[in-house]
Amino acid sequence: MDTTLSPTVDTNEHGHGPAKGMGRWLFTTNHKDIGTLYLWFSLLMFLTGGCMALMIRAELFQPGLQLVQPDFFNQMTTMHGLIMVFGAVMPAFVGLANWMIPIMVGAPDMALPRMNNWSFWILPFAFSLMLSTLFMEGGGPNFGWTFYAPLSTTYAPPSVTFFIFAVHMMGFSSIMGAINIIATILNLRAPGMTMMKLPLFVWTWLITAFLLIAVMPVLAGVVTMMLMDIHFGTSFFNAAGGGDPVLFQHVFWFFGHPEVYIMILPAFGIVSEIIPTFARKKLFGYASMVYATSSIALLSFLVWAHHMFTVGLPLAGELFFMYATMLIAVPTGVKVFNWVATMFHGSMTFETPMLFALAFVVLFTIGGFSGLMLAIAPADFQYHDTYFVVAHFHYVLVPGAIFSIMAGAYYWLPKWTGHMLNERLGKAHFWLSFIGVNITFFPMHFVGLAGMPRRIPDYALQFADFNAVASVGAFVFGLSQLLFVYNIISCIRGGERATDQVWEGSHGLEWTLPSPAPYHTFSTPPVIK
């Protein structure tokens, strides 16, 4: 789109720079500062959750119990899941949204800057509380990130109460963040920035934010019910009092399935920004991308019970959820076809962000294929709760969501820091990650199909070889993330000066700003023709 800018350097009373010292970060209401905080926080959580994953993979390197006992192993799988979902992926997307959405729509800041500050600063407290449960008597949560009742209620360690409060805090943070994003997109767009001109990253985040407001309260509801069952004698999930443990799963997955899309829709947006830039060609099928994203979001409310095919649903229910789940393949397919069509007859170059985006398309699609297989209820009886499922969701979340976040970070880092990143290091990071991810997760398809259940600390001998391979891959992937951290820090410290446009093929408002982007931007809205 063509954009003409009014002057971007501030001349009004907001023209001051950031405050000095810690106060800047504690009290900041600047969307770029808060975006930075979110991104650092999520990186820290990513590394924390990653260490837990490595502990799991080290234990599973060979059969027998070597490093940890089963109960601690269960705490590790639970914490790894919770931290990666709520601490790494979601805050990273919120961080990118904070940084980029105001710039992309031509707004001076987020619509509700003070609320923005709160929604970030809740997170460190929530996760400190959550991590502290590991040191409490009886240990931390050990019932899986899906915390099925009654394992998470009647049979839970005492620390479950703190886990519930931590989830409540994360929920508040997410909902406030979502409200802020919606208000910014709907109310602060620059003149002429119509809805159908919005960059796709903004569109996917708008839809994600609505999903968050729709389902995070349901999560809050379900943990509140747990809290009441544990401490106030109610029987939501306790069969003895007329409750039903299966009800827990229905309510949880009513939240849980849209949650899955919360973690992938912004990724679609990021990739839809990056591929056109490096293919030097406009995104194919912009409108159908928007419609496909919306229909994925709507369908996500109708498929939750495909996580529960083995709980004994009646035949009609089983068929309904099978058909609805298969239907999701259609809009998802449209998106993949559009990305491929964008590359087709483009003029491609393969800088680090593009490499991650391409890997995203291929590996996310592989995860989509296994998802389609899992949708087939009779076959799902053989896949359910095996490593095949673990392989599936790690394919959509690691080379899916995480790769898109890394692609986004590499793509926008020059705009944030004013320095080009070290391309050679970036490529090394990419190839090590790409190879590591596949060595880790591809064999999991095999052990899953061969019959290995998930969430077990020890396994039968026929699964040993692939598990050893997967563990080696996990360490390759894990250690290569140190390159990512190093590359980010060195890019902040210095490097080749970035131009305003940064990338040859980039389009959009963010690339009209100077690099690094000034502390205050678009105080006077740009005019979009």
Partner: protein, 370 residues
């Protein structure tokens, strides 16, 4: 010295690496008609996915190779095409319908559990299974038999490491067996890949599934719903026998149960009870209270040196028989027979330096249970 013991399994693993042919990559074709149908369905969807993948990734790879700037490719200026977009919405839709038809047919068959020959109630416990043949007067528990030494890498692992139990579920070949699933504590899930049966066992509720095993043999499976600490240690073993052998097994099991009941009236010496009690303890108690009787601080109390075990025999018997409400201590009165109960209580009162010299007779347990 300790370090070297720790190294042993690693060396063993390295040595066994070339010998192990365990690179199994696919689901089993199974031992029932339904399992084969599921396998076929799985392969059809898999190949459809592969075909779609080849087309999509093929186009992508072709673009990556040919439409790169370094080759002088110029970007063309198309960015939408309604006809193409409608086409690639409709084609996947048609493929999905083609997949849904056989899937629906198989699912309907799997849900038809009518006219079964045998009904077996399967109850999940933390962390073992209980099988009750309805109307047949057969009722037993099935727990892991892999020794702790193998799990802790202090002994070489057996062929069926973690997939072996004391009492397998025995089924006759060619008969329709209906399984009724429930659980006594948390949610478990009963899975035997060769029967293509995976169903959750949910406390307070009952689920069903069925299978007609076609070939005699031993089929192994595991619990597939996270059910707490020893979720990975509650396998399932199904032994399918010919009708004649199955009938023989039924008769043997019933007479063994009678012999068991008769032995409860016999006199047992302290040493006999302790010897038997140690076995019972290791399968039923050691998972929580530990083989050395030390328990796990904060979670499971120690029995070694416990005042109750050392002195109050009535309370000790009561807690073993009836459990303790609000804790993980189950009521073993219904799970073990009188001899085993007497033996395990006697063992606990004499092991790990408890040395009380107390002996509990099976008769005393029988009296309490009447």
């Amino acid at each position: 010295m300790i370090k070297r013991v720790w190294l042993l399994p690693w060396i063993g693993w390295l040595v066994s690496l070339p010998a192990s042919a365990a690179w199994e990559v696919n689901i089993t074709q199974g031992a029932t008609a339904i399992a084969r149908e599921v396998y076929d369905l799985h392969m059809i969807i898999f190949w459809i996915c592969v075909a779609i993948g080849v087309v999509v990734f093929g186009v992508m790879l072709w673009s990556i190779i040919h439409h790169r700037k370094s080759r002088g490719a110029q970007a063309r200026n198309f960015h939408e095409n309604t006809a193409v977009e409608i086409l690639w919405t409709l084609i996947p839709f048609a493929i999905l319908i083609a997949m849904a038809i056989p899937a629906t047919a198989t699912l309907i068959k799997m849900y038809d559990s009518t006219d079964a020959d045998i009904d077996i109630q399967v109850t999940g416990y933390q962390w073992k299974w209980r099988y009750q043949y309805l109307g047949q007067d057969i009722d037993f528990f099935s727990s892991l038999t892999t020794p702790r030494e193998q799990i802790n890498n202090e002994a070489p692992k057996g062929e069926h490491y973690l997939l072996e139990v004391d009492n397998p579920l025995v089924l006759p070949v060619g008969k329709k067996v209906r399984f009724l699933f429930t659980a006594a504590d948390v949610i478990h899930s009963w899975w035997v890949p060769d029967l293509s049966v995976k169903k959750d066992a949910i406390p307070g509720f009952i689920n069903e599934s069925w299978a007609i095993p076609e070939e005699p043999g031993i089929y192994r499976g595991q619990c597939t719903e996270l059910c707490g600490r020893d979720h990975g240690f509650m396998p399932i073993v199904v032994e399918v026998k010919s009708q004649a052998e199955f009938d023989q097994w039924l008769a043997d099991t019933r007479s063994a149960a009678q012999a068991q009941a008769a032995s409860a009236t016999e006199e047992w010496t302290l040493d006999q009870l302790i010897e038997r009690g140690e076995q019972v303890y290791n399968t039923s108690c050691a998972a929580c209270h530990q083989a050395n009787g030390q328990g796990i601080p904060g979670a499971f109390p120690a029995l070694a040196g416990s005042p109750m075990v050392m002195t109050d025999m009535d309370a000790h018997i009561d807690i073993v028989l009836n459990g303790k409400a609000g804790t993980a201590m189950q009521a073993f009165g219904a799970q073990l027979n009188a001899v085993d109960l007497a033996a395990v209580i006697t063992y606990e009162r004499n092991a790990w330096g408890n040395d009380t010299g107390d002996s509990v007779s099976p008769q005393r347990i029988t009296e309490l249970q009447q």
